[in-house]
């Protein structure tokens, strides 16, 4: 074969490789991301009983022990210890609890707020719609990072404040996207027929329209999980998030950067955890979107 034929042949073979088939799945559910998320949730909920050591107790005798597979490491501290002698694995597990708490709360509140606004705006229309959508526009156009930093600096770092700030920043996309879904459903005959049946406006919004946008809401929420974790970690990294000594992945990274040149694990391991969880959340959300879309659903 001459060179150009060989190149064409390579391209033909590349095209035949299906990436989809390379990711192991059960009925389309990607296994690895699902497992990672499951581990994350378990750690988040039951961390207290799983973690081998106290994540907060400072232990100056055992500082900067590398992970067990490296020279100098031991199985006592599987992932090593940080600059204050605290067990990395335990801190990671407790950090999962923080991320899960913050993530879950933010998603629930912003989802709730966004949904209510979307329903009122989409179904009632008119002035309600105009006013609410302008409010949404304002929040959407806020520069999220600057805004959250400013508010956090103003209000002081605490878990509660963090949740409040993140909800403020993250609720508006829900409202806009769900409003679109509400508008689409509003045109279906069953909404008119519910009016004919005598249902009140409130009943129509919550009993008829809401169940039909629920799928979209769930998918949005799953995809937002990643964003919340990154936001929370970023703010914690800057010292504006969850205050020490409570372990948060972002704070762990910050603490670890000081030792990064000589000791890679205090900063990198929490970073890897964030990447894995966020990626898994996105892949899972993607699968959920396809799975819940009526066009693809097996009837």
């Amino acid at each position: 074969m001459n060179p150009s034929q060989r190149v064409a042949d390579i391209f033909k073979r590349l095209r035949r490789i299906s990436i989809r088939k390379a990711i192991p799945t059960i009925k389309g559910l990607p296994i690895i991301p699902a497992v990672i998320l499951l581990v994350f949730v378990i750690c988040g909920l039951f961390g207290k009983w799983i973690a081998p050591h106290d994540p907060v107790k400072i232990n100056l005798d055992d500082t900067l022990i590398p992970p067990f597979w490296q020279e100098g490491g031991s199985t006592k501290y599987i992932l090593g210890t940080d600059g204050m002698g605290r067990d990395m694995l335990s801190r990671l597990i407790f950090g999962a609890n923080v991320s899960l708490q913050v993530g879950f709360t933010v998603i629930v509140f912003s989802g709730f707020l966004g949904t209510v606004v979307a329903l009122l705006s989409g179904y009632l229309g008119g002035w309600v719609d105009i006013i609410l959508m302008r409010v949404v526009d304002i929040f959407l156009s806020l520069p999220a990072i600057v805004f959250s930093i400013a508010l956090a600096a103003l209000m002081g770092p605490s878990k509660k404040n963090l949740i409040f700030i993140l909800v403020l920043v993250m609720w508006s996309p829900y409202a806009r996207i769900l409003r679109g879904a509400v508008l689409r459903i509003k045109n279906d005959d069953f909404v008119d027929l519910a009016i004919v049946a005598g249902a009140s406006k409130a009943r129509i919004m919550f009993r008829h329209i809401f169940p039909n946008i629920f799928n979209t809401l769930v998918v949005l929420a799953t995809l937002q999980l990643g964003q919340v974790i990154i936001a929370e970690s970023s703010l914690s990294y800057m010292g504006l998030g969850v205050p020490p000594p409570e372990p948060a992945w972002g704070t762990m990274i910050f603490d670890g950067t000081k030792q990064l040149l000589m000791h890679w694990w205090p900063a990198t391991i929490p970073g890897l955890a964030i990447v894995l969880v966020v990626l898994s959340g996105n892949l899972f959300g993607d699968w959920l979107r396809v799975r819940l879309d009526p066009k693809f659903r097996q009837l």
Partner: protein, 322 residues
């Protein structure tokens, strides 16, 4: 004849057409329904036929209070709707139900069948939970669905079965009038007959009146006692079923009947092919709406609008020929 339960008196629905972005100026109106009057009596089926754009669906929506009339009056059991108190208005809502054309968008995909059927009762707090459950079971039986159907979701049913669910829902609050907007046109032929028989049986047993809106004249003929023809927002002819098909008076009606496809290749019916297209309902001229396509038009037809008048007993027509 039995008592009149619903009367439409010169009802009009105009959709304003505006120009401009900031300061909207009305430049005209789409006269979807332009002054029609008819009555529906207890237990009868009134068929309303016409082609797309004639206003029959808008008429249905007006009667269902999904749109507000621009002018005219709707009378229910003799009383004008605008004079009704809130509970009386609620009573009207409950007495006039509907079945629409599309069996797929008529049912909420995320509600169980039993809940869908019960909605007119639950939304009005009309019955206790227990009584409602019994009523649903009875209705499911009446419309011929499987007994365990109440727990299932709409997507587990076929098109014809979904239409049965829609009919059950319409019957739940014991209405005196059900508006059927193209109830069978989205269904397969073999299912159409099943549903039409069902509707017939229900009317026999419960005495409910129907306003049947359809474009298929054979369906309308089969089910209706009286038939009205609409063209561009106006009623051009109203007659009893037999009389309608044996002596259609209005040229449009004659064309419509002739255009209905034959049931046998040897069916030699006089074929009237109408020239041109249905004109737009936007700012219509002050004349007979049909005169440009009418083969029997006279000079007066382009100047003056004919009024709907009774020509023989029970047979009204809006045409200068009579």
């Amino acid at each position: 004849m039995s008592e009149i339960i619903l009367e439409a008196r010169d009802i009009k629905k105009h959709f304003p057409v505006t120009k401009g972005i900031l300061f909207l100026k009305q430049i005209g109106a789409i006269t979807a329904v332009d002054g029609i009057s008819f009555t529906i009596s207890r237990g009868e089926t009134f068929g309303l036929v016409g082609e797309s754009g004639c206003g029959k669906t808008t008429t249905a929506r007006l009667l269902l209070l999904l749109e507000t009339i621009t002018s005219g009056a709707i009378l229910f059991n003799g009383k004008d709707l605008t004079q009704l108190s809130a509970p009386e208005l609620k009573n009207y809502r409950v007495s006039v139900q509907a079945v629409f054309q599309d069996p797929y968008s008529s049912l909420s995909p995320r509600m169980r069948t039993g809940d869908i059927i019960a909605e007119p009762i639950i939304a009005n707090n009309a019955l206790s939970r227990k009584a409602a459950k019994e009523r649903i079971a009875k209705l499911i039986e009446v419309v011929g669905l499987r007994i365990d159907g109440a727990e299932l979701y709409p997507h587990e049913f076929s098109g014809g079965q979904r239409q049965r669910i829609a009919i059950a829902r319409a019957l739940a609050p014991n209405p005196s009038l059900v508006i059927l907007d193209e109830p069978v046109s989205a269904l397969d032929i073999s299912i159409r007959a099943q549903i039409m028989n069902l509707l017939h049986d229900i009317q026999q047993d419960l005495g409910v009146a129907y306003l049947l809106i359809a474009h298929d004249l054979s369906v309308v003929k089969h089910m209706s006692n009286r038939i009205g023809v609409m063209y561009l927002g106006k009623l051009v002819e109203v007659a009893e079923s037999e009389e309608f098909y044996s002596h259609p008076l209005h040229p449009y009606t004659q064309a419509l009947i002739s255009a209905t496809l034959p049931i046998h290749p040897d069916d030699q019916r006089e074929k009237i092919i109408l020239p041109g297209e249905v004109p737009s309902p936007f700012n219509p001229p002050q004349a007979c709406r049909f005169h440009l396509r009418c083969s029997q038009a006279k000079p007066i037809c382009s100047e003056q609008e004919p009024l709907l008048q009774e020509v023989t007993s029970g047979h009204q027509v809006a045409c200068h020929l009579y």
